[in-house]
Amino acid sequence: MKIMRVLKANIREFPEQQQTALKQAIKWQIFTICFTLVTITVVAFVMGNSMAMRTAWIEDMLSLLPQISFLIALFFTYKQPTLRHPYGWHRAMGVGHLVSGVALLAVGTHLGYEAAKGLVTADHPTIGTVQLFGNTVWLGWLMVIVMALIVVGPLWIYGPPKKRLAPILHNKVLSADADMAKADWQTNAASIIGVLGVGVGFWWLDGAAAVFISIGIILDGYKNTKMALADLMDQRARTSDSAKPHPVREDIAACARARMWVGDVGMRIRDEGQLLQVELFVVPRLKRVSVDELTELQQAICDLAWNLHDVVVIPTSQIPEWADRGLPFPHPSATKSPPKKHHEKG
């Protein structure tokens, strides 16, 4: 199939560690999608009139979005740059991330509103019985058992491997997906508490649990939207969990400063979704610099990390004020503006 040929051809451009990680990530995403489709079907059968169960069910469906967008975006990111798309297609990962985040935010808000409305209008959830192998069983027990069983998937089966693979691939969608999987146990616990609460007569626990789950969805949506927007708006590159600026900036600066002909450096790095694009501003010690020296520096920087794929070295007379000088944190001169060049006469 053409899709597979394109993917395989481009995966081979990655170093081996990333190739293995990527193949594993794809397998885990496909497994997760299959697992989630099964749990969605099962929960649909037992959810009855419980608001908490319905909210958990919809959250389950929403969780498919980052996984599907990851797979679709992967296909796009491997297309080579063309005249029409000179920066390539790497932003597809960021677009997928944004779409997932916004969907979570929108649906979470709607569900939260519905749950809160149900609490205010004092809707008592009616949960009756089902016939199971000739016995009449309260449906609430089935709900509790199902929610307790399906939590093993995100918590123990596919959540941890994805969390492990995300930094290797510098993939924020994968990292966010793994975080959401890890927090899934809270949704299941809330539904169980909600249903058992209804069982003992506390009808409002179901609505309260639904509100709790909705807040979780809204927070996931907010976090992912913010992360995706920041990258799409070309903020400086950060680690795959967005905890701090990407440490490769120090390596780049050190690599450049090691060259004799380099006087001062400043850079800007943006995250295009897995791959980083670097623009390095260099003030040469002498007024001239050869193409060979520029090319050598560019290649040396590309070799620093697997995901520095688009490096541009720009000889200039002055480093822009906003450029990152690549100094380690915290460093007093990192926050100060660069010293002004004094042009003395005579």
């Binding site: 809707d123 008592h124 959830p125 009616t126 949960i127 009756g128 019985t129 089902v130 016939q131 009449t136 309260w138 609430g140 509790v144 307790a148 058992l196 209804v198 069982g199 003992v200 007569g201 506390f202 009808w203």
Partner: protein, 169 residues
């Protein structure tokens, strides 16, 4: 030496299981937020009926029909005395919402639009039997539901359990 966090995580599953066993054993699940079943047991079952050919017929003082018989037998099973109210479907639903009635039977099918406003049992099937003299007979197996106050889960479970037993044999 195992640290506290690991110990807590390992204890979580068995503790939850223990909690569930305690709940099942000691607490009555499901329960009625308004205590309907407790009140009705040994007391009065307020039933609303709406006329439906082959299912509910007669008057408020002498209702008849297969559904009425089922309700009679259910009330007997919990030592309750049925108190009949004959009205239209809509009026019965309003009475259920106002907590004047506990149960309503009539021509309610599994597609009933009233499910958004009141509690509904799951569907049960009534087989055609020898007709009670003076009433119409059911011609084909009929799927029906009963309406109750929303959220009275002990009562609805008790009714469904009874209907399972009655209609199985």
């Amino acid at each position: 030496m195992v640290d506290m966090n690991t110990l807590r995580r390992r204890m979580l599953a068995p503790l939850t299981a223990l909690l569930m066993v305690v709940l099942v054993g000691c607490v009555d699940i499901p329960a009625d937020p308004k205590g309907s079943l407790e009140r009705i047991r040994g007391g009065v079952l307020n039933v609303g009926i709406s006329l439906a050919p082959g299912l509910v017929a007669g008057t408020e003082r002498e209702p008849s029909g297969p559904l009425v018989e089922l309700v009679h037998d259910y009330a007997a099973s919990i030592n309750a005395t049925p108190n009949w109210t004959l009205r239209s479907e809509e009026q019965l639903v309003v009475f259920l919402e106002e907590e004047t009635l506990d149960l309503a039977v009539g021509g309610f099918t599994p597609d009933t639009p009233w499910m958004d406003r009141v509690g509904v049992t799951r569907p049960f099937t009534l087989e055609p039997t020898t007709p009670v003299p003076g009433t119409e007979a059911l011609e084909a197996p009929h799927e029906f539901v009963m309406l109750l106050q929303p959220g009275e889960n002990a009562l609805i479970s008790s009714v469904e359990e009874f209907l399972d037993e009655e209609l199985q044999s």
